[in-house]
């Protein structure tokens, strides 16, 4: 099956119905239908019942709901009228680094966090032009900029209990009063001197603020923490390496597969004491199933990238965890990339869905991993229902459903002194942090992702505290087909792509699906695009001042109209060449991403503007 799928993904025909949309607006990217005849009722997949939220027109956390669906129930903007979408207002933030955050809408207020210095802007939507109500500056340490591997981004804030809560680059979690803009509490949870930074958006579950650290490239030791929503006090910390006691592995820990079972694997699977600097941070997305009372997230890559310096499985890096939100206790874990060879973090989002599976309903989470496989895991047990490639993969052959093991391709194993060529997907994976959306109306997942391969060579690296700990020279290049980005509509029931749109650059922005059957995403050239959720046909696009790598959201304004908002401002790992002014002659710059992005500076300048669109 995977062979067939790989064939489909290679776009070489294979008898598939591959056609391009009629020549539309100039510059329109080809859009390819991979599987015809989507049933009118959708695929049958639904957002996990307990994790849905009634559509209240707000957008209080980046992923919209606990299931991380990024689906807006608003349906004023439809496939037929989206072409009339116009900017309602814009706001230049003054911060010219990668803007990855999702605007948060609570009542009549909108909140936006910028990249470092992590300013928080609050806009009153009820005022004409949505005037700025206040700005909060957490004043993060300037030196933290030197510890963030891949641009000084921030992925947004969450709202709960009257507070806007987010993490600053210098490891402070701050809670700001949503009305006044005054700091309510501030907790320092990490140390920039150890290379730790924070870029993730917290998830607030009940009275826990869940945060994790970044720094898999700096020799940090990864963790996730549960903070008290009221006080900010750290209630629990689960490390991602080390003995079971600190990983919070206890008697209720029941991994599905034998390979993840055993005691103190977080120590035994590392040489010497390298687990203390072994990476495995947590800087991506967390989902929550209230019915099972479990949070789901993946840990990041082990450090250093050079795998020869850390023989062993390197648990619990690049691992998917289910934990209790109150205590952090681990319930199950599934290591997707044991002894990760290519910086395949496991931090990508998981969307909680209920799908028909062999005649019955099954509660699953769908997780597009960096390694190029779309994993469907049973939420309760961690069993892999399927793991199908969604991009061209050369680094591995398949995932065994029986043992859960990833069958690596031995010819792509990095060895010191040698270059491994054409490793696909590249280090940012088939998909990086940019979150997917799911529409219950079509039953499809909309996955923004990239199509990159790389050549890599491990080099000996020293752990020197506060300096990067990578040990890999990388030069990336476009994957098969020559385009560097895709938006893929994925049928979570069959585990197959339905259609896909090629983009010249990686699609580094999140996706948004709405009840009007429109899917929004942004491109690194600066286009904000709307496509038909069923067919992928392009419907509308708007050119912003800079490349878009943010997360679009939809909300109902105080005036009752539906709005769509997104941050424009290129940067992040993929856009570091522009945001950091890097030299395109060095293809290893920005951990090798520059090799694939040499032409980006000709296409987009830096930016940092909030765009809000509505129908006129």
């Amino acid at each position: 099956m995977s062979a067939l799928c790989a064939c489909a993904l290679s776009l070489n025909g294979c008898g598939l119905d591959v056609h391009r949309t009629p020549a539309g607006a100039e510059g329109q990217q080809p859009h390819i239908v991979l599987q015809t005849a989507l049933p009118p009722g959708g695929t049958g997949a639904q957002i996990a019942a307990a994790a849905t939220a009634p559509e209240d027109g707000q957008w209080i956390r980046p992923a919209k709901d606990f299931a991380s669906s990024r689906f807006s129930g608003l349906n004023e903007i439809t496939t037929s009228n989206v072409a009339q979408l116009k900017p309602a207002w814009t706001f230049p933030t003054g911060v010219l680094r990668g803007q990855e955050a999702a605007p948060i809408v609570v009542g009549h207020m909108m909140y936006v966090v910028t990249a470092y210095p992590n300013l928080l802007y609050a806009f009153d939507l009820s005022k004409p032009g949505a005037s700025l109500k206040w700005m909060y500056n957490p004043k993060p340490a300037t030196s933290s900029q030197g510890e963030a591997c891949c641009d000084v981004v921030n992925r947004g804030a969450s709202y709960a209990d009257g507070k806007i809560i987010y993490a600053t680059l210098d490891n402070n979690v701050v809670a700001v009063d949503a009305e006044s803009g005054k700091e309510v509490w501030r907790t320092k949870v990490g140390d920039i001197n150890k290379g730790e930074t924070m870029t993730m958006a917290p998830l607030i579950v009940k009275d826990r603020v869940l945060v994790g650290n970044s720094g898999g490239e700096m020799g940090v030791r990864g963790w996730i923490k549960g903070l008290d929503l009221k006080t900010g006090a750290v209630k629990w910390t689960a490390m991602h390496t080390g003995p079971d006691s600190v990983v919070l592995i206890g008697p209720s820990f029941k991994p599905f597969y034998k390979k993840d079972q055993g005691t103190d694997l977080g120590v035994k699977t590392w040489p010497g004491t390298t687990w203390q600097i072994g990476g495995g941070g947590m800087w991506g997305w967390i989902s929550y199933d209230p019915a099972l009372d479990l949070i789901f997230y993946g840990s990041s890559n082990p450090g250093p990238w050079n795998p020869e310096q850390r023989p062993g499985d390197n648990k619990w890096t690049s691992t998917f965890f289910a934990r209790r939100p109150e205590t952090g206790e681990a319930i199950w874990a599934y290591q997707m990339n044991p002894h990760d060879l290519h910086d395949y973090d496991g931090v990508n989002e998981s969307i909680l869905l209920d799908i028909p599976w062999h005649g019955s309903k099954r509660g699953i989470l769908v997780h597009p991993d960096r390694n190029g496989y779309m994993y469907a895991l049973d939420r309760a047990t961690g069993e892999v229902l399927y793991a199908n490639p969604y991009v061209h993969i050369t680094s591995s052959d398949s995932v065994s459903l029986k043992t859960g093991e990833l069958a690596l391709n031995p010819t792509k194993e990095p060895k010191m002194g040698k270059i491994v060529r054409d490793v696909c997907p590249a280090a940012p994976g088939g998909k990086d942090w940019q979150p997917s959306a799911f529409s219950p109306r079509t039953g499809l997942m909309y996955v923004p992702h990239q199509n990159l391969c790389m050549d890599e060579q491990p080099t000996a690296v020293s752990y020197i505290s506060g300096t990067p700990y990578v040990g890999m020279d990388v030069r990336m290049k476009p994957g098969m087909g020559g385009n560097r980005g895709f938006v893929t509509a994925w049928n979570p029931v069959t585990g197959k792509p339905v259609w896909r749109i090629s983009e010249p650059f990686p699609v580094w922005s999140g996706a948004l699906a709405t009840a009007g059957d429109v899917v929004f995403y942004g491109t690194m050239e600066g286009w904000f695009k709307a496509v038909d959720a069923r067919t992928g046909a392009p419907l509308w696009k708007y050119k912003t001042t800079s490349g878009i790598i943010g997360q679009p959201v939809a909300f109902r304004g105080p005036d009752g109209k539906e709005y769509v908002a997104v941050m424009s401002g290129v940067g992040g790992w993929s856009g570091a060449i522009v945001a950091g002014g890097l030299d395109p002659r060095d293809s290893s710059a920005a951990l090798g991403f520059v090799g694939a992005m040499r032409d980006l500076p000709r296409v987009t300048p830096k930016g940092g503007t909030l765009y809000v669109f509505s129908l006129r």
Partner: protein, 647 residues
């Protein structure tokens, strides 16, 4: 102007003084500096070659002495690693590329035309060009050495140590370019020798009558033609890696560090025989004069030379056993390395038979020949030992190997060479070297040689690797090293003795006649030193020992032009007259060309602009070289194919 008819087999006609004067006018070079730089006479150039190479030998010897001084005691701080590495690299490079190969070729270029009875080498301007390029290349290396840019990566320049990442600066570039220089020079010399031997032999000198030294030079020249391109290519790859950034030897980008070793040793092992075969030729040519009989087993000797030459190309991998060559492949190279001992053994047996059945005269050259057998057999048997893979794994890259190849190269090539100096000095200068000092020279050399190198066998077993600038006292290597260093002093005193002998004999040595040793080869048929035209009348050969087999009367060829430079070409196999051909005049263009090429090579390590600039200069020089003068045009009109009936 019509040429007089050619008469072959005349007995020696009356020696006409006017004819000598006329020939002197035609073949002689201009007087003064201009004549000196434009000359294309093979003897002039050969002399310069020999002298220059010998100066490089002295420089290499001084380097050796410095190394021995540093190693005389443990933890010596006389020379630091930086200088030491340069010195041993210079020693190896000098001895191999600037001394051993050039001096053998130089002897060939001087004596082969005399021994085959012709007036000059085949392409005299090319010959001059070769010498100038050699001088420029060798001087370049030494200028760089004195500027602290001497190579420090070993004469074998293994990558990656000599590559761009680990060999900063211009030191390894200097080495690579010196190699390019010397390879071109060697190939130029080889071309000269091959064509001269094949086309310019005296009438009657059929292939089976060629003196063994000439055979040895011919075989060596062919070996050079096949071996040198390998190292020239390798050094070019190295230069490209270092200067342009190619990846021939970068394992990360698909290059290979072993590629260098294969290319280098594909040249490097034949190189040993390129040095050794001419030396055996020297021995075989000198031996008759001192045993009063032709060398025993001429056909066996020639076949041995040829088979050694072939086999020499099949054993390069025995330098690389420690790199982890698969057992089966290594066994092949062990077998060939062992096998080459058979033809070498045959040569030794033939010499023994010659000595045994002759009437030895123990003049200095004979002492050197016997010293050669004494030492070379030691080097030979250790050579058979190190052909064994397991044994080699212990002694490879240790002082055992240093001992082995010094026995082979000093014993096997330098001793015959010193013998040759004593033997041919009278021919070249007209005066004999002192026999008394010569004996001192020999015994000091012989004793010093054994004192220096014999202990090294043991040092190798005791674990002393090569190319170390010092060693710890606790290793216990001190006493043997001290002994070895004292031996080096003895060798140095021997070489000084030789220099004294040269100086003293040049001034007041006994005047040599045409043939002081009563030898049998053709060079002794002319005056000492020979005139610019070599022979007033070209000789005719009637047997293998030209001067002993000439019957009652010496026969000559009469009728070659006395009006212009003309050489007689003969057929390759039987040496029957083929044609008479005009011969180029002296020219400054070879020097100009060498300068242009020198500029090209030297500046190429600093700037890519060297290619267009040096290329343009070389083009100009080439145009000047090839531009026909009226003299040339006139001469070529009288080139004539000889019909054998007329002879």
């Amino acid at each position: 102007m019509t040429a007089p008819p050619l008469v072959i087999g005349e007995t020696v006609p009356v020696d006409v003084g006017a004819e000598r004067e006329q020939m002197e006018r035609v073949w002689g070079s201009k007087r003064g500096l201009w004549g000196w730089i434009t000359t294309t006479n093979h003897k002039e150039i050969g002399k310069r070659y020999i002298t220059t190479a010998f100066i490089f030998f002295l420089l290499g010897g001084i380097e050796a002495a410095m190394m021995r001084a540093q190693l005389s005691r443990p933890e010596n701080s006389l020379i630091g690693p930086d200088k030491y590495n340069q010195i041993f690299t210079m020693h190896g490079t000098t001895m191999m590329f600037l001394f051993a190969v050039p001096i053998m070729e130089a002897l060939g270029l001087y004596f082969v035309p005399l021994m085959v009875g012709t007036r000059n080498v085949a392409f005299p301007r090319l010959n001059a060009f070769g010498y100038w390029l050699f001088l420029i290349g060798g001087s370049f290396l030494y200028v760089q050495f004195f500027l602290n840019t001497g190579p420090d990566v070993g004469w074998f320049a293994y990558v990656p140590l000599s590559g761009p990442a680990f060999g900063p600066g211009k030191r390894a570039d200097t080495w690579a370019q010196t190699i390019t220089f010397t390879e071109i020079v060697a190939i130029v010399g080889a071309i000269e020798l091959i064509v001269t031997v094949f086309k310019q032999r005296a009438v009657g000198m059929s292939l089976n009558r060629i003196p063994i030294f000439v055979w040895a030079m011919l075989v060596t020249a062919f070996m050079i033609m096949f071996a040198m391109p390998a190292v020239a290519t390798a050094s070019m790859y190295l230069a490209l890696d270092r200067l342009v950034g190619t990846h021939f030897f970068n394992p990360a980008e698909g290059g290979d560090v072993l590629l260098w070793q294969h290319m280098f040793w594909f040249f490097g092992h034949p190189e040993v025989y390129i040095i050794f075969l001419p030396a055996t030729g020297l021995v075989s040519t000198m031996l008759p004069a001192f045993t009063r009989r032709p060398v025993f087993g001429y056909p066996a000797m020639v076949l041995a030379l040829i088979s050694v030459a072939f086999m020499a190309f099949g054993l390069w991998v025995h330098h690389m056993f420690a790199t982890g060559i698969p057992q089966l492949a290594a066994s092949f190279f062990t077998a060939t390395s062992t096998m080459i001992a058979i033809p070498t053994g045959v040569q030794i047996f033939c010499w023994l038979a010659t000595i045994w059945s002759g009437r030895p005269r123990f003049a200095t050259p004979m002492l050197f020949i016997m010293g050669f057998i004494f030492l070379f057999v030691i080097g030979g048997v250790t050579g058979v030992m190190i052909a064994s893979v397991p044994f080699d794994l212990q002694v490879h890259d240790t002082f055992f190997i240093v001992a082995h190849f010094h026995y082979v190269l000093v014993g096997g090539a330098v001793f015959p060479l010193f013998g040759a100096f004593y033997y041919w000095f009278p021919k070249v200068t007209g005066r004999m070297l002192s026999e008394r000092i010569g004996k001192w020279n020999f015994w000091l050399f012989f004793i010093g040689m054994n004192m220096t190198f014999f202990p090294m066998h043991w040092l190798g077993f005791y674990g002393m690797p090569r190319r170390v600038y010092t060693y710890l006292a606790s290793t216990g290597w001190g006493p043997l090293n001290l002994l070895s260093s004292i031996g080096a002093l003895v060798i140095a005193s021997s070489v000084i003795t030789f220099l004294v002998n040269v100086v003293v004999s040049l001034r007041g040595g006994a005047v040599a006649g045409d043939n002081p040793w009563d030898a049998d080869t053709l060079e002794w048929a002319t005056t000492s030193p020979p005139p610019p035209y070599n022979f007033l009348h070209l000789p005719v050969v009637q047997g293998r020992s030209a001067l002993w087999d000439e019957g009652d009367e010496r026969q000559v060829t009469v009728g070659t032009s006395t009006e212009r430079r003309e050489v007689l070409l003969t057929t390759p196999l039987d040496a029957q007259p083929d044609s008479r051909e005009s011969h180029p005049h002296d020219s400054v263009w070879p020097l100009a060309m060498a300068l242009a090429i020198g500029v090209l090579f030297i500046t190429a390590i600093f700037t890519p602009l060297a290619l267009p600039i040096g290329g343009a200069l070389a083009l100009i020089a080439f145009a000047g070289w090839a531009w026909p003068t009226s003299q040339d045009v006139e001469s070529e009109k009288s080139d004539e194919k000889i019909s054998l009936e007329g002879a």
